[in-house]
Structure formats: structure tokens, C-alpha cells
């Protein structure tokens, strides 16, 4: 029987399938960071257990670390303690850790692929919902809670119910100035934040095939914002080319064998998905969110929706609540709205190609007076490569801040945050109330849209500037 990419990976990782129970699923790669792991290690210690497969476990620190110069001390004692605890846990349990001073440190979902840990056909988990990112390589990757982190540390397995599959087919050529971020924002605006619940997305179609790996990662990354725990893209030559020669990718004869294996992974002709959604890339425009969840998105030229037009009471109330929080009038345009802060970075859009796009627009221009612009590379390696290309100079000469790698203002745990009432155009993934700082108001958009806002100080259609 023809199988989907998801089914092929699932079937080869089931260790046991007791009747009327979840499967015991084997995990090939377990990524760890400082925020969602400490309680799991405490519990392991209490049970007197070891990590079963340190060789399949990789740790970094990204969420609560400062992005200022590494020579400065960590001002927040709680963050400092959490970071110290990650070091203690990694050392005690014998785990590979990309620590504060590592040149390979970075956001967990940036360094996994960058170092070649992330590979097609793998099952990958992390105590972080944006683990969906790694699905861009044709792996089954999803976020887990801390109890599950402990389960994987102890057994290298998880109890999982088999999810349903949903094909997200994106055909057509993206118009100029419209990017991978706009595709995923358009999808989520269409299906809502719960639209993919219970499903794994597989992105197919000519627009996805035409993307480079970093663009595919941007799309897969935000699958969770549509409710799908995982998003996947079938591996192809683009995937293999990206991985070839990376530190932890197979080398030599093992590489050839791996590629032969990976070529068997794409969904078979005639494989059946539980559901299919289609999008026409050529019809898309730059997208931006106006509300307090990622499903509340519109075309950048569009108007803020009117609660009066919604019949269902709870949805109407949700929109009213969102607009009140955001300080927006129904029916008003977002274009031209003043922004206080622009954030370029995160596991969604903190990679080299994202920074190149933003820098390309900002080159030779100046950041608007009164607008604060933070550019935060996704990893120290991204930072190094961006500097080698002179992107840092473009940002700094424009008047932006060029920071060390980390999650930074995407989750606002490290001191990089909005003040109450401030507006931000952000390349991150969540616009929930308070996400970028208590009382802060987030417009999620692409790096191009963020760069345009940096220059004009307003929500701007970047197509007029590229």
C-alpha cells in the first residue's frame, strides 16, 4: 500500500504497539535547552536513572540567555541559575552541550540543522513547540513537555498516539517581495490556530519544492501555530546539498548509503492523506498579523476585521478582546501605523538568508528616528557568517543593534522586551498577549516587512522598497 512520508517514518520507529494504547515510539535525536529540562533531570536524579543514549542527545542554551556582549555578566539571577543548572546537568549526565561560550551555540532549531544533527527520516523531539522546524528535512519532529523530556532521557522512547495527516499543497510562483513567511502566515490565517490540531502537515507543491532549506524551515517552524505538532517536507536534492559536509552529517560511504535511504522517504504516488489544503502562491501578498494569535493575520494592504461582521458570539468576543489589547480600530488599515520596535531574529527567521533579505532592504538607508531595531542572529555561526559578508555593518550603519545569538525578544525571557503599549513588527512566530513583554503589541511579519518598518518607522509594504 502506498505510504506518506509521515507513515514511513512512523512505521519504522514503532518499538511496540500494545492494543488500544499509544505506540512506544523510538526517538533518534533529542534536543534540550535550559528552560524545559531542569525538572526532568531532577526527576531522573530522584529515580537514580541515567540518560539512556547521551549520543542521541544534544543540549544548548538559548531561551533565557542575554544577547549583549558575552563578556558582561548575566544580570538576571534566575536566568543565571537556570543556565548554570543546564551546565551541571549536561556535565553530570555526560551530554554534549553548546554552552554560553561555544562558537556553535544558538537557538536549538537553528543549530540542529546547521551542525547536521537534523537528518531526513529521523524522529526528533525537544521540549519546545517549534521543534516542527526540523520537519523541513523530511524528519518527524515535534515539541514535547518536560515529563516527556524525562521519558526520552530515560528510555529514548515516547508514548504517542498516531496523528492524522494533512497535505498542505502550495503551487505557483511567489510574487516579488512575498516570502516563505507570508505563505505560512496565509495558511494559518485561513485555517486558524486550531485548524491542524491532531494532524501532521506535509507541505507539497511547486512553491515548496522551489524553496531553499531555510525557507522550508520557516514554513515548517510555524506549523504549530496552525495547531499541527509537526510539519514536514519530503527530502530532495536541496536537502542533501544543504546537509552534505556538515559536521554531524554522515561522511564518505556512509553519506552515499544515507542518501540512498533518504531517497526512499518521499510519499508514494497514490498515498492518501486524511485531509488536503491548497494554497496558490502566486495569489499571495505580504502578510501581517493584527491580533493576539497567529491566525489573526491579513494581507498587509488589508483592513483590520470588524467584530460587527462576525455572527458567532465567542469569535466576535475574541476579536473584540484582541483589538482592545492591540489598540486597533475595526476597519482601519495597518499600513502607516507607527511602530516602536522592530525585531529581526528567532527560530522562524533568524537564519542567514533572513538577515540577507533584511540587510538588502536596509543597505544605504537609515533606521527611522525613534524606532529601536534589534537584529539577533539565530546562532553564533549565523552571526559569524553574516559578519563575514558585512551584513553587521549594514545593520549598524543603518542604526540597528547587532546582537549575540538567542531567542531574545521572541519570548522576552532574557531582558530583550517591549514596554507596555509599545508596537513591534517582529519576524518571530507568536503575537500572544504579552509574548514580547507584558503589555507589548506584536505584528508578526516577514524579514522584508520588518526591514521596511525599520526604515520608515511604520507598517510598510516592502514591495515598494525592494
Amino acid at each position: 500500500m502506498p505510504k506518506t512520508l509521515f507513515e514511513k517514518i512512523w512505521d519504522t520507529h514503532v518499538v511496540a504497539q500494545p492494543p488500544d494504547s499509544p505506540a512506544v515510539l523510538y526517538i533518534d535525536l533529542h534536543l534540550i535547552h535550559e528552560v524545559t529540562s531542569p525538572q526532568a533531570f531532577t526527576s531522573l536524579r530522584e529515580r537514580g536513572m541515567k540518560v539512556r543514549r547521551p549520543d542521541k542527545t544534544v543540549a544548548t542554551m538559548d531561551h533565557s540567555i542575554p544577547t549583549h556582549a558575552p563578556s558582561l555578566p548575566i544580570a538576571d539571577p534566575l536566568a543565571a541559575a537556570q543556565i548554570r543548572q543546564m551546565e551541571i546537568n549536561a556535565s553530570e549526565f555526560g551530554l554534549r552541550l553548546y554552552s554560553m561560550n561555544s562558537l556553535q551555540r544558538g537557538i536549538v532549531h537553528v543549530i540542529g540543522p546547521e551542525l547536521g544533527f537534523t537528518q531526513p527520516g529521523m524522529t526528533i523531539v525537544c521540549g519546545d513547540s517549534h521543534t516542527a522546524t526540523h520537519g523541513a528535512f523530511g524528519s518527524l519532529a515535534f515539541g514535547i513537555g518536560t515529563s516527556e523530556v524525562e521519558h526520552v532521557l530515560a528510555t529514548q522512547c515516547l508514548l504517542q498516539r498516531k496523528p492524522k495527516t494533512c497535505e498542505v499543497r502550495v503551487d505557483g510562483l511567489l510574487p516579488k517581495g512575498v516570502t516563505a513567511k507570508d505563505i505560512i502566515l496565509a495558511l494559518i490565517a485561513q485555517i486558524g490556530v486550531g485548524g491542524g490540531t491532531g494532524h501532521v502537515f506535509e507541505y507539497t507543491g511547486s512553491a515548496i519544492l522551489a524553496m531553499n532549506m531555510e525557507e522550508r524551515m520557516t514554513v515548517c517552524n510555524m506549523s504549530i501555530e496552525g495547531g499541527a505538532r509537526a510539519g514536514m517536507v519530503a527530502p530532495d536534492d536541496t536537502t542533501f546539498e544543504y546537509l552534505h559536509g556538515r559536521e554531524f552529517a554522515p561522511q564518505g560511504a556512509a553519506w552515499d548509503r544515507a542518501v540512498a535511504r533518504w531517497k526512499m522517504l518521499p510519499s508514494d504516488d497514490g498515498a492518501v492523506y486524511d485531509q488536503t489544503i491548497t494554497l496558490d502562491a502566486s495569489e499571495l501578498e505580504p502578510m501581517i498579523t493584527f491580533g493576539t494569535n497567529p491566525g489573526m493575520g491579513i494581507k498587509i494592504t488589508g483592513l483590520v476585521p470588524e467584530p460587527a461582521a462576525i455572527a458567532e458570539a465567542s469569535q466576535k468576543a475574541a476579536l473584540e478582546k484582541a483589538l482592545a489589547y492591540m489598540g486597533l480600530q475595526p476597519g482601519s488599515p495597518l499600513l502607516g501605523r507607527q511602530v516602536d520596535v522592530v525585531f529581526i531574529g528567532s527560530c522562524t527567521n533568524g537564519r542567514l538568508s533572513d538577515l540577507r533579505q533584511a540587510a538588502g532592504l536596509m543597505k544605504g538607508r537609515r533606521v527611522a528616528a525613534g524606532t529601536r531595531v534589534l537584529v539577533v542572529p539565530g546562532s553564533q555561526e549565523v552571526k559569524k557568517r553574516a559578519e563575514a559578508e558585512g551584513l553587521d555593518r549594514i545593520f549598524k550603519e543603518a542604526g540597528a543593534e547587532w546582537r549575540e545569538a538567542g531567542c531574545s525578544m521572541c519570548i522576552a525571557m532574557n531582558g530583550d522586551q517591549l514596554a507596555p503599549g509599545q508596537y513591534a513588527v517582529s519576524t518571530s512566530n507568536r503575537n500572544f498577549e504579552g509574548r514580547q513583554g507584558k503589555g507589548g503589541r506584536t505584528f508578526i511579519a516577514s524579514p522584508l516587512t520588518a526591514a521596511a518598518a525599520a526604515i520608515t518607522g511604520k507598517v510598510t509594504d516592502a514591495r515598494s522598497m525592494v
Binding site: 518499538v15 511496540a16 488500544d20 494504547s21 499509544p22 512506544v24 523510538y26 528552560v35 524545559t36 525538572q39 531561551h63 538576571d76 534566575l78 536566568a79 541559575a81 537556570q82 521540549g127 519546545d128 513547540s129 521543534t131 515535534f142 515539541g143 514535547i144 513537555g145 518536560t146 515529563s147 516527556e148 524525562e150 521519558h151 530515560a154 528510555t155 529514548q156 515516547l158 508514548l159 498516539r161 496523528p163 490556530v193 486550531g194 490540531t197 504549530i224 495547531g227 505538532r229 494569535n293 491566525g295 465567542s314 469569535q315 468576543a317 475574541a318 478582546k321 519570548i411 522576552a412 525571557m413 507596555p420 507568536r430 500572544f432 498577549e433 504579552g434 509574548r435 507584558k438 503589555g439
Partner: protein
């Protein structure tokens, strides 16, 4: 894990759809390295005013709902991040069950591992429960997991779905890690096969 069998309690209503985990517990409270005190941070940005005083308009601060162990929430509860701090905050505060029309996948899994019962009801029963609470704020209902029933005052009741495995785990307080360790031999076999 704490067992869940039956529960009789008033409901605390939060008529908001898509309550995300950043609202359940904002990220700035995730710097702890233990699970202590999470209940204090539950719904912090809705529950407290800017000066730290309780927001009297928020249900958690209203005397009629004190002691409520059932949270009655809008559609699609728990979307967003994978933070298990969300169920830790809910149980830390004293909740043992959340009722909604749907739950985000990761939140549901995390809740079940902490003895917090996600009760999925249809839109009709969801409305009836909110109406009951409007008519009689603080009205008590009874949840019986074994029979998968909710009893409302009078003779009204509704059934809810839960998979058998999760039900058994909750009823008996099963430790999932202990359960997985029971497959140690199979895991070793799988690893041996993968290595060849």
C-alpha cells in the same frame, strides 16, 4: 502521578477562545528550575493589575469561585508553547479538570501526565455549562471518570470521550515512565536492529 476518579466542584468560567500557554503562565515565570509556586503565576497577566494587586474583574479573584477545581474555558484551550509549566500552574492553583470543546495536542498530553483531566465536550454541552454558571454562579457539577460522565444539578448529564489508555492511567495514577520502562527489552532489540 495523582489519581483522578471523581470530582465534585464549582466551575470557574473563562469565556475566552484559544487561551494560549503564554496566558496560562507567561514566559518570565519559566526561569525556575523546579515546579514550586507555579500556581501563583497562573494567568498572571490577566489576574494581577500592573501594580501587582488582584484584578477584581477576573474570575480567579472573585469569592464565588474560590476553591473551584474545574476550569470552564473557551474553544481550543492550551494552544502555543510546549511548556508543561501550564498544567503545573493549573494544578498548583488547585485545578483538577479543564472543560473545553477542544485542546491543543501538546497541552493535552502534558495535562494527562499531571493528573489534570482535559474534558472535551461538544458545543451544545459547552453552552449549557456556561449558561448554568450564568444562572447559578458557583454551581457544582460532578465529573466521574470511570463512567465518563458529567452530572449537572437536576437530572442533566453528559458523556465525554477519553482514550482508554489515558483513562486507565488517570484512574490508577500510573507512572508513564514506569510503563515505558516495562518495554526495556523491546527497546534494546530495536536499538540492536538499528545498529546493524
Amino acid at each position: 502521578m495523582a489519581q483522578f476518579t471523581t470530582l465534585t466542584s464549582r466551575m470557574l468560567p473563562l469565556v475566552v477562545n484559544n487561551i494560549d500557554t503564554d496566558q496560562i503562565i507567561p514566559a518570565r515565570f519559566l526561569k525556575a528550575t523546579d515546579k514550586k509556586g507555579m500556581g501563583e503565576a497562573l494567568f498572571a497577566d490577566w489576574r494581577y493589575n500592573t501594580d501587582g494587586s488582584p484584578n477584581p474583574d477576573f474570575a480567579l479573584n472573585q469569592s464565588i469561585y474560590q476553591g473551584a477545581q474545574i476550569l470552564l474555558a473557551g474553544d481550543n484551550f492550551g494552544c502555543g508553547s510546549s511548556r508543561e509549566h501550564a498544567p503545573w500552574a493549573l494544578t498548583g492553583f488547585g485545578f483538577r479538570a479543564v472543560i473545553s470543546t477542544s485542546f491543543a495536542d501538546i497541552f493535552r498530553n502534558n495535562a494527562l501526565k499531571n493528573g489534570l483531566l482535559p474534558i472535551e465536550v461538544d458545543a451544545r454541552m459547552h453552552r449549557i455549562l456556561f449558561e448554568l454558571n450564568e444562572e447559578t454562579p458557583g454551581a457544582e457539577i460532578t465529573v466521574d471518570l470511570a463512567s465518563q460522565m458529567i452530572q449537572l444539578p437536576g437530572s442533566r448529564s453528559a458523556s465525554f470521550a477519553i482514550d482508554n489508555f489515558s483513562k486507565t492511567c488517570l484512574l490508577n495514577g500510573v507512572d508513564e515512565l514506569g510503563y515505558i520502562l516495562g518495554f526495556a527489552e523491546k527497546i534494546a532489540e530495536y536499538e540492536d536492529k538499528a545498529a546493524t
